[in-house]
């Protein structure tokens, strides 16, 4: 029993210690990416003076050392008239659901150590992806609490916008997930990923996007809306609400809100890769090595296979992180009525139709 607890702890720590530094690194990608798109150089001044040189590491020192130090040492202000307890609680409530959702993301198949078989996923729950939906739906409380407890009109408006937006897009997200559950016939993410290892006609990997392109677009859009980023950043829209629900936060609490933003990006990227792009699957890689459709086979030890799968998952995840950041600096912000129209009159009917078509097709295929 203690061995199982130890293995689970190690897996949880590995995931946590990957996600948190990656969230910081994405801050750097965001700053440099925005600079690239806006034809600027971006943060490049802060550095470590060493041997008469200024070691800036392309601005990494700025984002990973100077910014956190500045935020951690700043004065922590709670506005007068604010609900002190809830004001302090909001950033934590915001970060918590975003982090715990990683518990069910599979980042590899199985690793054999001795005669022990380790499933490369922190927790295999029988409610599977419903756990993700549950945690995503809890994410709204950080926004609502931060907006309400600050005793500030901008914050309150941001909080109200945030709750309306997240409720609206949860519906479309849930329905796109329903289509995926129908396709795979399971709610468990690890077995969804395993099914994507099949080959269609012996050549094409059976990734989710080939079966459900509509659900992919719906899920990605709803995911970006849930993480409240441009073009869905109405809860914080700087030009009208200063910073929306986290206007009145400073220092480390402000940093927590920022962190949550990046953790949510990573989470959306991880889910999109898992559901639609084969998760940890490498085309033609099986548990015992590569089997190419033209007959070549390369046998590989289990450890190498596990590392390749981990790499594959990381690459896919990083691509979608990068994609979301590029999207942010490419698109303008929606107007509020456009946001609501897209959610309820656009995505909801499409998602419903997608579920219906999927169900009918599955029925026909199974009946035939």
């Amino acid at each position: 029993m203690w061995v199982e607890i130890g293995i689970a702890t190690i897996k949880a720590l590995v995931v946590l210690l990957t996600v948190l530094p990656l969230a910081g690194a994405l801050g750097w990608v965001e700053r440099k990416g925005s600079a690239l798109i806006q034809d600027r150089i971006g943060a490049n001044r802060a550095g470590i003076p060493l041997f008469g040189m200024n070691i800036t590491l392309q601005g990494l020192v700025n984002t990973l050392m100077a910014d956190p130090l500045k935020l951690l040492t700043k004065e922590d202000v709670t506005p007068r008239g604010a609900d002190r307890f809830l004001h302090a609680l909001a950033p934590v409530v915001n970060l918590f659901p975003a982090l715990v959702t990683f518990a069910i993301v599979p980042f590899g198949d199985v690793l054999f150590i001795g005669d022990r078989e380790i499933n490369l996923q922190i927790a295999q729950l029988d409610v599977g992806i419903l756990y993700v939906l549950a945690m995503v739906s809890l994410g709204v409380y950080g926004v609502v609490l931060g907006g309400w407890a600050s005793n500030n009109r901008w914050s309150l408006l941001g909080g109200i916008r945030g709750s309306a937006q997240m409720i609206s897009y949860e519906v479309a997200m849930g329905l796109s997930v329903v289509a995926m559950i129908l396709t795979y016939g399971t709610v468990e993410l690890q077995s969804m990923t395993r099914q994507q290892g099949h080959l269609i006609g012996g050549w094409v990997p059976a990734w989710g996007i080939l079966y459900q392109p509509v659900a992919f677009i719906l899920f990605l859009t709803a995911g970006i809306a849930e993480s409240k980023r441009v073009p869905f950043d109405l809860p914080e829209s700087e030009s009208e609400l200063v910073a929306g629900f986290f206007t009145e936060y400073s220092g480390s609490k402000h940093m927590l809100f920022f962190m949550t933003d990046f953790v949510e990006i990573i989470f959306v990227a991880a889910m999109v890769s898992t559901l639609f792009f084969g998760g940890w699957q490498v085309p033609y890689l099986f548990r015992d090595g590569f089997h190419f459709p033209w007959g070549t086979a390369i046998a590989l030890p289990n450890l190498v296979v596990a590392i390749l799968e981990l790499l594959s998952f990381t690459v896919k995840m990083l691509f979608f992180c990068w994609f979301q950041i590029m999207l942010r600096w490419t698109l303008p912000r929606f107007r509020y009525d456009q946001l609501m129209r897209l959610g309820w009159k656009g995505m909801l009917p499409i998602a419903l139709a997608n579920v219906l078509v999927t169900a009918v097709v599955i029925l026909l295929v199974q009946g035939a």
């Binding site: 609900d83 809830l86 729950l125 029988d126 409610v127 419903l130 756990y131 939906l133 549950a134 995503v136 739906s137 809890l138 709204v140 409380y141 609502v144 609490l145 907006g147 309400w148 309150l156 909080g159 109200i160 709750s163 309306a164 997240m166 409720i167 949860e170 849930g174 709610v187």
Partner: protein, 163 residues
């Protein structure tokens, strides 16, 4: 489920349920209700009803309570300054609670369900789905029609003009 876990969860549920009625601020009241429903979901999880636990969080904690908070914030409700007579409030509440507890004790006492470990596939998605969509298909569909009626009614009431 072991007794200490049940005791802890039950205690938390009761404490936050008290918070719902004792908090003077409507937002704090609603948040206490969120916590009550959340710990209730955990209770379901420890009772092996995993699907019900997840649905409890998705539907009640994550959707309905958010709408409650949304309305409270939209109307900008403040703490109720009016002092209520504690005796009448508590008296009425106490009587209703006592009647409910008596009914509950009577009903549970008559079901004849023996305490014991749940069967292996209890509370899984398959079991619940079979009950809902095969055994209880008709009541389930009638319930959804009822809810549809309620939604249409709400839309009709909320619309200022109907073409």
């Amino acid at each position: 489920m072991t007794l200490p876990i049940f005791a802890l969860l039950a205690l938390l549920i009761v404490v936050f349920a008290l918070g719902v009625i004792l908090a003077r601020n409507p937002v704090r009241s609603a948040l206490s209700l969120v916590m009550t429903l959340f710990f209730l979901a955990l209770l379901y999880l420890f009772l092996d009803a995993h699907l019900v636990g997840a649905l409890q969080i998705i539907v009640y904690t994550g959707a309905i309570m958010v709408l409650f908070l949304f309305v409270i914030m939209l109307l900008n409700l403040q703490a109720d300054p009016e002092e209520r007579s504690a005796v009448t409030t508590l008296g009425t509440a106490g009587t209703l609670c006592a009647a409910f507890v008596a009914l509950l004790v009577y009903m549970v006492g008559n079901t004849g369900i023996a305490a014991g470990p749940a069967s292996a596939n209890f509370g899984t998605i398959q079991t619940v789905a079979e009950a809902l969509f095969i055994r209880l298909m008709l009541p389930f569909e009638i319930t959804s029609v009822l809810m549809l009626v309620a939604i249409i009614g709400a839309v009709v009431l909320a619309k200022r003009t109907i073409q």
